[in-house]
């Protein structure tokens, strides 16, 4: 019998957190699951930890690959998955034990192709859970169903976040459209998530905190963006390509360009080190133009502050 959910977990040098993560997966109250762990060439004891779990639990499969990044690892997992729904988790986060049960139940009930649930942040340094509202903006979600991107009343790309771990994806829907993760170091899930979002005819939400995202983790990818500072731009360009292919670019152009500005500024403002200057110059000289941000009137932008920031960079 096919599992209800396939959990796909790329693992890379997270020995420190992996047990907490794995415990919260194998302990899920929804038991009809499979867990596909892809070790992405870890140099620490991550593969050994995974093997130990696999020995105890027949639902777990472990694959090892040379380091190719989480995007490639997720695609590998995707190709192996047999579940009705797909859950792509991150190995430094941890989850409520009923996360998959609740999410799956809601998704089934709504025949959802994409389900998004709420999450919060775990700030490790302060040992604190912090609420976040921007991962699921309720005000822009219709009070009726069916719900698709066209029924949102705000920028389609800002109603949810372009990461995969707080979502369930119907596998047949993903296969029907041949969606894949982008194989790059960071921002590799944006293309996959937003493509699914604009293609899904039935999107559903579950407004309950079911997952905890670990923050302030020095080894986490978002802290090493200095080495992959151009990935976000590749992700934006790939998304544009997909929107065009789906015949949705014209309809979503304004949302896309606004999001491209937002995401560029976020990357610029959060990157540290020597690459900040490089990124600043590249945005100014090349990328803002290439992303279609230049030459638009003020009224085109939903967020005046971001527009002013853009003008300042260009001046």
């Amino acid at each position: 019998m096919e599992p209800k959910v396939s959990v796909i977990l790329p693992v890379y040098n997270v020995g420190k957190y992996l047990r907490q993560c794995m415990d919260s997966i194998v302990g899920q109250t929804l038991q009809e699951i499979e867990v596909i762990c892809i070790d992405d060439g870890s140099a620490d004891d991550s593969p050994q930890i995974l093997q130990a779990y696999a020995k105890k639990d027949p639902r777990i499969r472990v694959v090892c690959q040379q380091n190719q990044g989480a995007g490639a690892a997720r695609n590998r997992g995707l190709s192996m998955a047999r579940g009705e729904y797909l859950s792509f988790l991150d190995s430094d986060d941890f989850f409520e034990t009923n996360m998959l049960e609740k999410a799956y139940q809601k998704a089934k009930e709504a025949k959802a192709q994409l389900l998004v649930f709420r999450s919060d942040q775990y700030h490790e340094d302060q040992d604190e859970f912090v609420k976040v509202n921007w991962t699921l903006r309720k005000g822009e979600i219709p009070p009726y169903r069916p719900m698709s991107h066209r029924t949102f009343t705000g920028n389609v790309f800002k109603v949810f976040v372009g990461w995969a771990w707080d979502k369930l994806f119907e596998r047949s829907f993903i296969l029907e459209h041949g969606l894949e993760f982008q194989e790059q170091r960071t921002s590799n899930d944006l293309l996959f998530v937003f493509s699914a979002l604009v293609l899904a005819k039935r999107v559903e939400i579950l407004d309950e905190v079911l997952a905890h995202q670990r923050r302030n983790n020095k080894e986490s990818l978002s802290n090493t963006r200095e080495r992959s500072w151009q990935c976000f731009y590749e992700a934006l360009q790939a998304l544009k390509g997909n929107l065009e292919r789906f015949g949705l670019y014209r309809e979503l152009e304004q949302d896309y360009i606004n999001y491209a500005l937002h995401f560029s500024l976020w990357n610029l403002n959060t990157i540290t080190g020597a690459k900040k200057e490089t990124l600043f110059e590249r945005l100014k000289e090349e990328w803002f133009e290439a992303l279609g941000i230049c030459g638009k009137e003020e009224g085109y932008f939903y967020n005046k502050k971001e527009y002013e920031e853009f003008l300042e960079i260009m001046s």
Partner: protein
Amino acid sequence: MAKVSIIIPTYNVEMYLEECMESVVNQTLKDIEIICINDGSTDGSLSILKRYEKQDPRIILVDKENGGYGIGMNIGLEKATGEYIGIVEPDDFVSLNMYEDLYNKAEAYGLDFVKADFYRFKREETGDMSLVYNHLSKDPEDYHKVFDPSANPQTLRYIMNTWSGIYKRSFLEEYHIRHNETPGASFQDNGFWFQTFIFGKKAMILDHPYYWNRRDNPNSSVHNPQKVYCMNVEYDHIRDILMEHPGLWERFKGMYWFKKYNNYLGTVKRVGHEYKREYVKRFGAEFKRGLEKGELDHSLFTEASWNRIQLIARDPDAYYQLYVLSPVKVVRLEAKVVKLEKKIGKLELKAGKLETKAAKLDKKVKSLEQKNRSLGKQLKHIRGSLSYRIGRALTYIPRKIKQLLFGR
């Protein structure tokens, strides 16, 4: 092949069904098929239909589990084999010559669809009937001529209904025009109607009422407060269809928002008080988004409506306070504003006239001044001329004497 297939989607209408069926089976156009879809009625509707089915071989009865209006209608459309399709709601009825007249028109002009004016009626408890004649268009010029709705979005201003006309079946098939099938939803005739206009190339409207639309059935979805967001679902569906076809959305988006506005206003009135506030909030959020994306066409709305849209988009709570909680006052104020605007208009007209008058006078003054100047020049010229000076010299003495005698 029957000339017209008449589809009757039926759900719990035992009180009215016989009146409806009598008007259909006795049509003067005999070459028809009558497709009755019983959508899981829980009253005596099915047995009434069965009785008619036995008596009239032209009747096709489909009995199905309850699934909603759209699904039932689509089954009827799939079963139909006639040249044209007509739709009769089972609590309404039709004039006996309706399908003969409409068929003849459609055939004579090769129409995709033809529609006629209609009555809305209520039956009082005394048995008296109150009738209101509904014109599809306010402009008499629009009638009895072939028009192309696909090229004229403004024709979507004609009153929305799907049942006062007939549609060529090959036209419906070419564009696969069907109803939305979302279960439990209502108002699924809106999407069908919208499609007939965006795809239709040859159509006509007639200023003769053939269809009698009942307005006193308490079970009608028009009166159902539970179905709060059905109109939104239907308009989402319509947008999906427009966006499937390149160019259609661009051409029709203005009218889409115009129709949506009027239907949402109707919904605010229709739903129960406990839903109104939330509904207005969603109403505002949708229109705010439409404004941001530049999809609304200002020129289609009256100034009063446009101002309302601005308010509901910017501040739905204020709109709710003003138009939902104290609508009478506001309507009075709005009427006053309209009156004052009219007055201002008249005064402006008057001012304009006065200005032209002033301009004319100004011109006259200028030309007189010019004349005056040229006369002055002439005078100077005369004074400087030799004959003038000689004349003066000759008349010097007599003038002096005259001065001495009479003074100056």
